[in-house]
Amino acid sequence: MANFYTENRDLVFTLKNLDLAEAVGMKENNYSCAADFDTAPADYADACDNYDRVLKVVGEICAERIAPRSRTIDAEGPHFENNHVTYHPLTVQNLKDLAQADVMGVVLPHRYGGLNFPCSVYIAITEMVSRADASLQNLVGLQDIAETICDFGNEEQRQAYLPRFCTGEIDGSMDLTEPDSGSDLQSVRLRAWQDKDGNWFLNGMKRFITNGCAKCHLVLARSEDGTSDGRGLSMFIADACPQLVVRRIENKLGIHGVATCELQYNDVPAQLCGQRRRGLTRYVMSLMNGARVAISAQALGIAEAAYTEARKYAAEREQFKKSIDQFPALYDMLCSMKTRIMAARALLYETTRAVDLRNAYNAAAEGENVADETRAKQKYYNKVAGVLTPMCKAQATETANSVAYDAIQIHGGTGYMKDFNVERFYRDARITNIYEGTTQLQVVAAIGGVQQRDNDPRIAELLKCPVPCELTEARKMVEVMYAKQLEAVNFINEKHDSEYRDLMARSLVENETYVFVSLLMLRDANLDADRIAPTLRYILDARPEFEKRFMRIMSDDRTCIESHKSVIDY
């Protein structure tokens, strides 16, 4: 039986060496839940055994069931008629398989019927589902909605919704975007009003809503009349009802399996979720950060799928009497694709580990009499997760695009045809660096942390890791890159030129990623000798890329700012 978990050596290695003991211990309440729930682990080893077993089941479902259905789903998609969306029967079957496997409430607590798994394991599931069918991930990943209700809703709302999410009985959607509010969510206009009894109703339009035909909607709406910024927005829970109309579904480049809807709210009854005015500033930011990690995993899954097809094709296709993977131009591309995937995975799970620790310390810091040490760690992991999440999303989604692009190139003319899967991966990858915040916005989200050196404590730890002797030189290169990155950051910080900073922000963030990921790869190469070659290759490829960006930042060249109009409008 094919299995997207057991047969993915890099994924198995990464999860095996990802130390989640602290976060899992906290999430499982020091393993005291075992008495109340027969699904709760007795200790960390027991928890890891659970993760491994469940990942094996999901890995097999993805490889044996979901992947073979994905072509048909892409070609036929969902059906829309009379304001009603009907998913493709194979999509329905996919969801049924995953619901029967109990993975629709992966991170939700035991008491609501969830698995209470850490984010890291959820992300591994996300990655495998996306590799099998990227569009399916858009439906499976909406369990993030349930997580948000769990984090910010009241107990009554949790009881009402979470158990039904876990069984797959209800699905969710996250209704944020409007025709005039995309990246700029502060300008959301959909209006929430209260009748004299205090009941809330929603009125207005939402656009590009993934799975807008869902049974449970989390809606960002303007609850405070007369406001125009983010502080006038609250978050609401609305059930599908006749007043909530799906006006149309979009005809998209990729992710065909999922419906992207335009919604019209005609006084839809709703419940306030959490506190008023904190909708965008607190809840949606949290929801979006979770979704950004999930989209990184979706992108990585697509990259893995594209690489696998390209690798196979290059070994089978013969030209000039030998298989094309024997030509330097081709094996160079394959090496580069592979190492970029490994790099993206290294950063993704470093990020999920920080997210798991952040979540654990956020929970621990609730209530009274919280120890100073707990507060300090809470603050630290919020910072780290805050900078790694956008770095990770930018890297993984841009990698997916370039790997899918290269995968078509390796297939040559064949890859351009719909007979092969790679053109679909290329189309599916293209949304990942756009939605949940474009790469340009990820740079905006990450640049502050880079300038304030939020990664330095972790980099210091990674610099203490031993490296195999074959990589001593590579390690020195990375140390030089790190010193230069500090120099570049210092240069930008002292310049106090915000437009120049914004212009160079992407280069700065990408160089931060090169340094950080190189150190993660070096750490891992020390645990498995077979990783020495890919690590060396990654660093040797990263160095010129880093130098190019470093030169640009340090050039102090403002001509692009001063003359961009003359260039653009020539």
Partner: protein
């Protein structure tokens, strides 16, 4: 519970994904070299039982006859939704042919008195498809073989669709009844929460072995562990020949009239290609030749 459904399953060597050393020099299956799996059509039988459980009020019990290692398929059945599992194990059962096997299974069925017995059509190791029908005969219950789906189940009778050559037929039978099931459904996957719970399910034999390996000295420990697991429904019943009142002369080698006279190791190799003229005469000649060498007819 309105209905009791008993599903017989078997752990088999994975003959569908064979590697180089799958056969021993003497032509028998090298079980050590092949992974042990859930017999595929038994998974279809289990799925049918679980669908009936979803549609009607039923209890699904899964049973297998085999060595202690076969407990793995029982746990897998629990992961997928079975309510109860039991292992029929005894050295005296070893070496059973289909006659002795169906007799041993009939002893279990007589104790449970199910409304419905489900078996996979056949196991991928022996491929005889005899155990299900023989079991029905021994229990004196009607049988419907090659079942694809159950159309209806209501008090006292079942309506099922069975595959026949070139189509299907729908049969009705009184209960209790035995069905053999073909590969016509998609078995549900193992469920995460059930895995996390039932991975701890053990037979008393496994538990005893675990304590022996761990070198526990206090005798009380084992009994306490067993009763604690039993309270959580995590003990898989273990039955030996005496427990099911099996006649020692009818089980295992003693009860097996089938003797393997000779095993011939056939090595398939490609022969010469032969061109057949695309005319009525050419096809006639080909058919005649195939009948002569007994490939056809």
């Amino acid at each position: 519970m309105k209905y009791t459904i008993l599903v017989f399953v078997k752990q088999v060597p994975d003959t569908q994904n064979i590697t180089g050393d799958a056969m021993k020099a003497d032509g028998t299956v090298n079980r050590a070299a092949l992974p042990a799996i859930f017999n595929p059509e038994d998974l279809n039988a289990l799925e049918l039982a679980l669908q009936l459980k979803d549609r009607y009020d039923a209890k699904v019990t899964v049973a297998t006859m085999g060595p202690p290692a076969a407990t793995e398929v029982l746990r897998n059945a629990l992961y997928r939704g079975a309510d109860e599992a039991m292992l029929l194990t005894d050295r005296a059962f070893a070496g059973a042919d289909t006659l002795a096997t169906s007799y041993a299974l009939s002893c279990v069925a007589k104790q449970i008195k199910p409304d419905l017995i489900l078996c996979g059509r056949q196991a991928i190791d022996g491929d005889t498809a005899q155990v299900g029908p023989q079991l029905a005969e021994k229990l004196h219950v009607p049988q419907i073989c090659y079942v694809e789906e159950v159309v209806a189940l209501d008090s006292g009778k079942i309506t099922a669709r069975r595959a026949i050559e070139g189509g299907y037929e729908i049969l009705e039978s009184p209960l209790p009844c035995l069905l053999t099931v073909v590969d016509a459904n998609t078995p549900r996957p193992e469920a995460a929460k059930r895995i996390m719970k039932f991975k701890r399910a053990v037979t008393p034999g496994e538990l005893k072995k675990r304590f022996a390996d761990a070198d526990y000295t206090e005798a009380g420990d084992l009994a306490a562990a067993e009763s604690s697991l039993a309270a959580k429904g995590l003990i898989i019943k273990e039955l030996n020949a005496a427990a099911v009142h099996a006649d020692p002369k009818r089980i295992g080698l003693a009860g097996s009239p089938t003797k393997v006279k000779n095993i011939e190791s056939v090595v398939l190799s490609g022969g010469e290609a032969k061109e057949v003229a695309a005319t009525a005469e050419g096809i006639n000649l080909l058919i005649h030749e195939l009948i002569t060498d007994h490939t056809l007819g």
